[in-house]
Each structure stands twice: as structure tokens, then as C-alpha cells.
Amino acid sequence: MKRLTLILGLGALAAVLAACSGTSAAPAAPAGSVDPNAIVVNAKDLKFSPTEVTAPADAPFEIVFDNQEGVPHNIVISDAAGTKVFDGEIVTSQKVTYQVPALAAGSYPFICALHPDMKGTVTAE
């Protein structure tokens, strides 16, 4: 029983340590030297503002994401088929700049990964 307890305890510790490593989202830069044409999206009260933004088609662009509350948020952009085309780093009470890859002309819904009810649309044109 003692050995089982020890093994289970070590397993749990290993799981905790393994779990504390790395993230998969695109890293965001602190909002410093920002493209003046960058899109600005705010997050407050579990809502995006604005919810409709326009970006240039076929060219990378920046989104200045300002999370104005103490709840973690990010921006995840998907294509019409639901495939993720951009997954921004999750931030709390922080303003960051996302480097979004070029999007073909069209409409792309975006959400917060933690709060899928937070919705918006990027129109590339």
C-alpha cells in the first residue's frame, strides 16, 4: 500500500510538472511600436469591441488586442470552414500586438478561446 501511494504520488507530481510547460498559441508582442494601420480590438465585460473589423486581403496585418479586464482573453480567427487560421496568446489585463498572417479576401469569424460566446468578424478585402 505504501509503495502504491508513493507511485501514485510521484505520478501526480510528474503530471503537474509536465503540465506546467509550454503553450501552443502564437506569441504576442507587447504593444510598443505599433503599425498605425493596425486593427484595435478591446475586450471588456466578456465582449469584444468592435465586433466587426476590416483587414487588408493577402497581406499580413497587426491586431492590437487590449484586454481591459482581469479575465483572460485572446483572439482566435477561423476560416469559413471552421479551421483556425490564427490563435493569439491568451492575456489578462494587458495590451498586446498580434501578428496575423495574410488572409485571402473573405469573412473570418473570431472568438475568445476561453469564452466562445465572445464573437466578432474580420473582413479581409
Binding site: 500500500m1 502504491l4 501511494t5 501514485l8 504520488g9 505520478g11 501526480a12 507530481l13 503530471a15 503537474v16 510538472l17 509536465a18 503540465a19 506546467c20 510547460s21 509550454g22 503553450t23 501552443s24 498559441a25 466578456l46 479586464e69 482581469g70 479575465v71 483572460p72 485572446n74 496568446e89 491568451i90 478561446a113 476561453l114 469564452h115 460566446d117
Partner: protein
Amino acid sequence: MFARPTTLRVSDVVIRAGIVGLALATGYIHSTLGGLLFTLNAIGYVVAAIAMIVPLALAVRFRWVIRLGLMGYAATTILGWAIQGPYYSTAYLAKGIEVALIVLVAIDFARLDGNPVTVVRRELASFVALISSRRQAGAAA
């Protein structure tokens, strides 16, 4: 209403304190995430932590159900996250805590209740016996 004092060993108390601490830790993390689902999840962990230590006779009698429920609750939370994400540092920390929580509750269960299959069988048998005795009493009246 309140249970009679039990003879818990020091190791039992340490494990129980660990369970309560881990449940409150993951509950706190979920409470900081905002939104209804995370808030309800946090409340669930707080209720489970209280249920693990409350000295009410009913809670003590059915602590095995609370243990199984807490393990299932944590496992469901991990499964839901594994399916939906998001995969970032705080989430990994919360899931690590939940894995450790499941392990500790399993140890607590094994030490105080024994084999879960045996416990469920025994409880089902006593439930069936209770129903039959009530039926017999009703027929005799």
C-alpha cells in the same frame, strides 16, 4: 445530525487537507476565468471541498459517494478541457492540480473505503435489503 468524532490517523488528515487544498486551488483558478461555465465549475469544487470535511452524519455516511463524485467531477473537467481547450499555461496548471486531486482522492478512498467495486456492491445490497424490509413491513401492516 452531526457525526460522532472519528478516529482519523494523522496521515488521513494530511491527505484530506491535501484534497481540500487542491480542490480549492483549482476552484480558485476557475473562478478567475470569468463566464458562467467556469464560475459553476469553481462553485462545484468549493462544494466538494466542503463536503469532504463537513462533520454531518449524512456526509460522513456517504463520504464514499462524495469521493467518487469528486473524482468523476475532476475527470470530467479534464476531459472537457482536453476536447475543447484552450491549451495554455494556467489551464495546464489547473489540469495538473486536478490529476493530483484525483490521485489523492483515490488514495483516500482506498485507505478508508477499500475496493470501490466492493463498496458499491455492499451499498446496493443494503439498499435492496432496506427496500425489501419496507415492503414486508407494508405487507404485514
